[in-house]
């Protein structure tokens, strides 16, 4: 059709591009809140210890809170196998190239989990500090990992994932003496970006800081249960 045949018009939309994603995220969050299930979204760069943290968390929560996991990766089901070996009901999302998880993928994964038999579900997002920060998945709380070998400047270089976190775990803290990582500097960068975030130093190998992390999970789970009973 040429311009002469058509009539030009315009419409003002003022629509948020991510509104559709956020609608699904809100739906997931409401459903899980009603079921008394805490949903935690874990963000970090690849190799900063998300799966190892979840393995240690699964061992420590055994007999205390029933845990499930949703694992996002570009390829392979390795993480699924690792979490299943810990006795955790898990769903692997293989994104096939997509650099982040979206709310619709998580909503579908939640349907595959035995939600009524769970207290807490962890989403292990695709290892990436940029894109996942933009997509809400329905989580009650967001946790971002910063591992010691990465260097404290990652907070400056990739601020989005740290800005939106409720808690920031400084992982692989057992490696501190072997690196030039300055934990004080890391904390001051985090404080200028996100002063309300809980900061926990942790090693999933030595279990240093694990109790503080578990206490936070119990507190968060308690806040969900109080919402259900309110």
């Amino acid at each position: 059709m040429s311009d002469s045949e058509g009539q030009r018009k315009y419409v003002l939309m003022f629509e948020h591009l991510l509104e559709a994603n956020e609608l699904i995220a809100r739906r997931t969050k409401e459903q899980l809140t009603e079921s008394g299930v805490l949903l935690i979204n874990i963000l970090s760069s690849p190799g900063s210890g998300k799966t190892t943290l979840l393995e240690a968390t699964a061992r420590a929560l055994k007999g205390r809170l029933r845990m499930g996991a949703i694992l996002g990766d570009v390829a392979t089901e390795r993480d699924y196998e690792r979490l299943s070996a810990c006795g955790v009901p898990a769903v692997q999302i293989v994104t096939g190239g997509e650099c982040h998880l979206e709310a619709a993928m998580v909503e579908q994964a939640v349907r595959q989990l035995p939600i009524e038999a769970l207290d807490v579900v962890f989403i292990e997002n695709v290892g990436n500090l940029v894109c996942p920060a933009e997509f809400k998945l329905g989580e009650h709380f967001r946790v971002t990992l910063l591992s010691v070998p990465e260097g404290e400047d990652k907070v400056l270089k990739y601020p989005h994932a740290f800005r939106t976190a409720d808690a920031i775990l400084i992982t692989k803290i057992d490696l501190l003496e072997h690196t030039r990582f300055d934990a004080g500097l890391a904390e001051s960068y985090i404080r200028s970006l996100n002063p309300n975030a809980r900061i926990i130093k942790l090693s999933a190998l030595t279990n240093f800081g694990l109790d503080e992390w578990l206490t936070l999970i119990f507190d968060w789970h308690g806040s969900i249960i109080r919402r259900v009973n309110a």
């Binding site: 058509g6 018009k9 419409v11 003022f14 948020h16 190239g97 997509e98 650099c99 940029v130 894109c131």
Partner: protein, 128 residues
């Protein structure tokens, strides 16, 4: 819906945003009875993770074969507005670690510039 890869092995989140944009304007075009979308105006805040140039390139791929095939995408960026953590003054910035003009404190709570908004769509309808 199968999403084609843009370039290398990893798709950028800009591509999935471009697909969302096409879906949103396609829906709007249908509502208003458009036969063609000619212009899309988008506002992207500097506090988002979006690189406008990548989003433009992704849009030019995602629009192929849709009602927005001939559409031009205009992106305007919005500055980050912060409320100083230290003194509470409001200031504009181009990054999260900017210095407050009032007290020299670093950073603040983001109150604006963290959104991606479809502002305006221009289209053609059939002559009655």
């Amino acid at each position: 819906m199968a999403r084609p890869f843009l370039g290398g092995e990893l798709t950028l989140h800009e591509f999935s945003l471009a697909v969302r944009l096409i879906e949103a304007i396609g829906q709007k075009a249908e509502e208003v009875g458009a036969v063609k979308v000619s212009l899309v105006k988008l506002r992207v805040g500097l506090a988002t993770t979006v690189v406008p140039q990548f989003l433009s390139e992704a849009f030019n791929v995602a629009k192929l074969g849709t009602i927005a095939e001939d559409a031009e995408l205009e992106i305007e960026t919005d500055p980050i507005k912060l409320i100083c953590w230290n003194c509470g003054a409001e200031f504009e910035a181009d990054n999260f670690f900017a210095e407050c003009q009032s007290c020299g404190g670093i950073g603040g709570k983001v109150i604006s510039g963290d959104q991606i908004v479809i502002e305006r769509v221009e289209f053609e309808v059939k002559q009655q």
